[in-house]
Assembly symmetry: C2
Homo-oligomer: 411 residues x 2
């Protein structure tokens, strides 16, 4: 009989959000009358911006006519979209990129899951803890994790960088040799950010220690404060050490429409077994052209519309809407004496569970007493134990209702 | 410095179609007046069916309204699409499937490239030769290929199953132990098919020898002859040994719209290192939920429309159009005394190059003398040397023009 990839058996439980969905479904079966409010999975609820809708319709019409019909596009994405990305997301911040440094994809989850493929299997990876599970799980699947230790809730070959209230959710630099460091800012799940100076420390460290930063900035659009960098390439020298992941999911409500991109600067090098330098961009290009066939033309046309004047205004309104929700949650919950983090430059609110409750215990309490679904912090790693994530992506009405229900909890 | 995945350095040259694009671009630069006809890459040219267009517009409108807006969908695809697939593509052929056995994706290239991840790195893979390059390259990247031998144009650990005029492009069964066998029918690039009895030989072999068949039937919609199976699951016992890949790319003109699916029957088992049986469906589900975030809702709504009465009629018309092209190419070229294969149950015509010319030599001749771009057979493997692929996906006008130009070649 054919043999499986044994590494899959190292994966722990089911994927976090599947487990949440399971408990939620069971609760609804047992309590069919309950009006559940979901502030759990980070999924948007507002409709697509009008400019995007218009552009999608136009693109669909193009596909109806042999003259304007599009078949296979470039695996890397259409230049019409890449050029808008470079102009508005980079050149506007003083960062120069070439078209061949940007790779459009169908989602950051795919990109951050696939990126590890182009690196050596014996690479040591470091992650923040708590962490978006895909960074860890994709490396477990590839065989980089080593065994899982049930007591520590950790894999033995992965280097965890604790983020907690004591260090204001800003991890210390690794004390052992690592090759790839996943950083996520604005952070999922804590909602916290780094200033330019703080991010510079990481870039300098990577340059000095010859490691690569995998910088996930899916929540960049939510940055409100001035000193928070929008791109890692605002830091000098970052192009030589960093890959940046961006997504339209939260920026423009594309969670169900699917468009993201990765920047892999030509300056970024790694080495082969003989010690020769290899341009990482070439490897990613080869990976994408071999195993991916580009994003739907219609979707890319929709995505390009967010960079129009109307589109920019509309996505700013979208972000404002969710950030007002974030403020409502922050203020409402902290007024109860609960410690609250995030929600200032990110759509996530990270709270310390009251009375030292465990994360899943608080999940079940919140679901049964307030009919609110949130995300248990421990689902993001051991340092998330005793924390809980709420998202600002609900409707205004549900967000306000949720805060009212929170206030009636027996704490 | 971080280390790369060394296996990437084993990859040969650039991906076939990139090389074709490069030569084509150079020719156009040198001959800006030439009116090139492309019968090279298997890309469709007819617009999307009207039913699909209508459904796409409706779905875009749903995304414009908070009440009907869709965020993240199931990673495996929406049930509304999966149920149509099962009903029309399987139940109609007497095959029963459950919803959790069908995984909707953004393309067969991704699926056939990713499927190897869930199997052991020491799996021995077998491919037909000539072969769609992604099967080989994705395994090279993973480290299953061993070294490349320049003389034989083959990787030492891959088992090649020659398909040539002598065996009517139907490979012999492997004579050594293999674990995973990639089969593609209707075949890309040869355009040839197997009868039910011939496919049964492979299913029986896989059952007896404990291997798994990775059955790519992206061109299923083009089957015209009665005795050619539409799904491998028409063969008794196939659910225990086969994964089937299907795509809407060629069925409904979705090359630029991106939708495909994989069937992984629950009956299909592999084993872990201790010899325990593992349900392969669970592994693929875990892979997809961890590294993929589902296909755009809009795209899935468009895809579902091909199963409506109007949609079915429209895609039948689409297939007829291309198959008429195939007949024009077949007849036109064979009238010149050139040996021609395929084009009966598939949109590909596979021809023996005249006068024993090499595949790339013929490519250059065809490009320079007739301004036609085709695909060199050797690009699909050593057994493709001396063969050449033409596609039926051009417009009628271009197809007829191409055949006329063919007739004027100095052969």
């Amino acid at each position: 009989m054919a043999k499986i990839n044994q590494n899959y058996l190292q994966l722990q439980g089911s994927y976090l959000f599947s487990e949440i969905a399971k408990r939620r479904t069971k609760f609804i079966q047992d309590n069919p009358q309950a009006a559940i409010i979901s502030l759990g999975i980070g999924d948007v609820t507002r409709p697509l911006p009008e400019a995007v809708i218009r552009s999608l319709h136009d693109a669909v019409d193009e596909m109806a006519d042999a003259q304007s019909f599009r078949g296979y596009g470039p695996e890397q994405g259409y230049d019409f979209l890449i050029e808008e990305i470079i102009k508005h997301d980079y050149a506007a911040h003083g960062i120069q990129l070439s078209n061949n440094e940007v790779f459009v994809s169908d989602g950051s989850k795919c990109d951050v899951g696939n990126i590890q493929e182009i690196f050596s299997l014996d690479s040591i990876i470091a992650v923040q803890d708590p962490v978006y599970p895909v960074y860890v799980d994709s490396n477990v699947m590839a065989g980089r994790s080593g065994d899982y230790n049930k007591t520590s809730n950790r894999y033995e070959n992965i280097v965890y960088l604790p983020c907690n209230a004591e260090n204001n959710f800003k991890p210390e630099l690794p004390t052992q040799k690592v090759d790839l460091i996943y950083l996520c800012y604005p952070n999922n799940p804590t909602g916290m950010t780094l200033t330019k100076d703080e991010l510079k420390v990481w870039v300098d460290y990577a340059r000095e220690h010859n490691c690569i930063l995998l910088f996930d900035s899916a929540y960049e659009a939510y940055i409100q404060e001035k000193d928070v960098p929008h791109s890692i390439y605002e830091i000098e020298g970052a192009k030589e050490v960093a890959i940046e992941f961006r997504s339209l999911s939260k920026t423009a409500g594309f969670t169900g429409t699917r468009c993201a991109y990765v920047v892999v600067p030509r300056e970024l090098k790694a080495r082969d077994e003989e010690g020769n330098e290899v341009t990482v961009n070439d490897l990613w290009n080869r990976r994408q052209t071999t195993k991916f066939n580009g994003v739907s033309y219609i979707t890319q046309k929709g995505a390009a519309a967010i960079f129009s004047d109307a589109g920019k205004l509309q996505i700013a309104t979208l972000v404002d809407y969710y950030m007002t929700n974030a403020a409502i949650i922050r203020e409402g919950i902290s007024s109860l004496g609960i410690e609250v983090y995030g929600g200032v430059n990110a759509p996530y609110i990270w709270l310390k569970t009251p009375n030292g409750m465990g994360s899943w215990e608080f999940f079940d309490k919140l679901l049964s007493e307030a009919n609110i679904v949130g995300t248990p912090g421990v689902g993001f790693g051991q340092n998330g134990q005793g924390y809980f994530r709420l998202t600002a992506f609900g409707s205004r009405e549900n967000t306000e209702k949720a805060v009212d229900r929170f206030k009636k909890l027996s704490l």
